[in-house]
Symmetry: C2
Subunit: 201 residues, 2 copies
């Protein structure tokens, strides 16, 4: 077996554990989910889990790191492409909402903070989040400037970005595919509301 295959195998085993752990933790919370619970849903023994991570806190970290890295990779090229500001904004929202709805459990964990982690892990995740937030702030800032050509303070643009975050990140509080349509429809609605307000033309 090649080195890459070994890595894939390991990642595949770990990925499966991260997926199933995230699903259960999204329901029961970090402290509410025991290592024994995780052993059961992953079909492994309690002690066998510790082959993949050194403790429960690291598992939580890995779920977060994987998620934010994926999210960031998905949208980081939006700034490089030749796009109009509103196309960039639309792309950001669509990426985020689609990823969110496809990974509801992980996102629930990712949006619940890093209080349980040590300083270093917490900071690593903070940097990932910060990178993503700055990406969003740039895209929102460019869009607003393209529409009004007056200058707005960083604080105001940041606050607007957080409001957009809110509309997108609150999805897990209400979304059901049956009642609220596809990810694309939700993304379009958020884009429309954020850019033009709640009243359709």
């Amino acid at each position: 077996m090649s080195d890459q295959a070994v890595i894939n195998k390991r990642l595949s085993g770990l990925d499966e554990i991260l997926d199933k752990s995230a699903q259960l933790m999204a329901h029961l919370g970090y402290h509410g989910t025991s290592m024994r619970d995780l052993a059961q849903v992953t079909g492994r023994s309690l002690s066998g889990l510790y082959h993949y991570f050194s403790n429960k806190e690291e598992l939580l970290f890995l779920i977060n790191q994987r998620g934010f890295t994926s999210l960031l990779a998905m949208s980081s090229n939006l700034l490089e492409q030749e796009l109009k500001p509103e196309e960039r904004l639309s792309g950001l929202i669509t990426n985020h909402v689609t990823y969110f709805i496809d990974h509801l459990s992980e996102m629930r964990i990712m949006t619940s903070g890093t209080m349980e982690m040590n300083e270093q892990r917490s900071q690593t995740l903070w940097k990932l989040k910060q990178e993503y937030t700055e990406l969003a702030q740039n895209i929102v800032g460019d869009y607003i400037r393209s529409q009004t050509d007056t200058d707005h303070s960083t604080n105001i643009i940041n606050r607007k970005t957080y409001l957009l975050y809110g509309m997108m990140n609150w999805i897990f509080g209400w979304y059901s595919a049956k009642d609220h349509g596809t990810a694309t429809q939700v993304a379009d609605d958020i884009f429309s509301t954020f850019t033009s307000g709640c009243c359709p033309k």
Copy 2:
């Protein structure tokens, strides 16, 4: 001592416990906060706490019930007053955001779901939330109809309401008084963004 005074005294003791418990639980999570932790921050003994509630789950329920009842009481008269639709919407947002920022810890708990509670308590809270949500949906629906006079489906209005919820409820993820202004300023920003989009006139 009169009956009412007795009730006040009891509520005052309980209220103090609910406040301090909510603060700690907002940091550590429900399962992450032990009864011994709560005994310490409330300046009481471990067993002494059980005089005010019968178990930890009931404590969580009481924090939620008190919060949602206050929130609902604050805005339930908006429909009765003679107000223009946009004034009602503005009032709802201001009430919600102000309460939110004044009670950040409780709101953090209130927005984290009822997974830890039994069916009956969970349902009691669900009804309170539902009542509040319907209030918001009515106000948002009236506003949208007043601006466009075409008819919109309930689903669309509900989705818009949830987007507004998102902007308001995500506050705990970013708000600091130093960087982001007063509750009123945040409320105005949310109202403006929700009604007219992100680009100031």
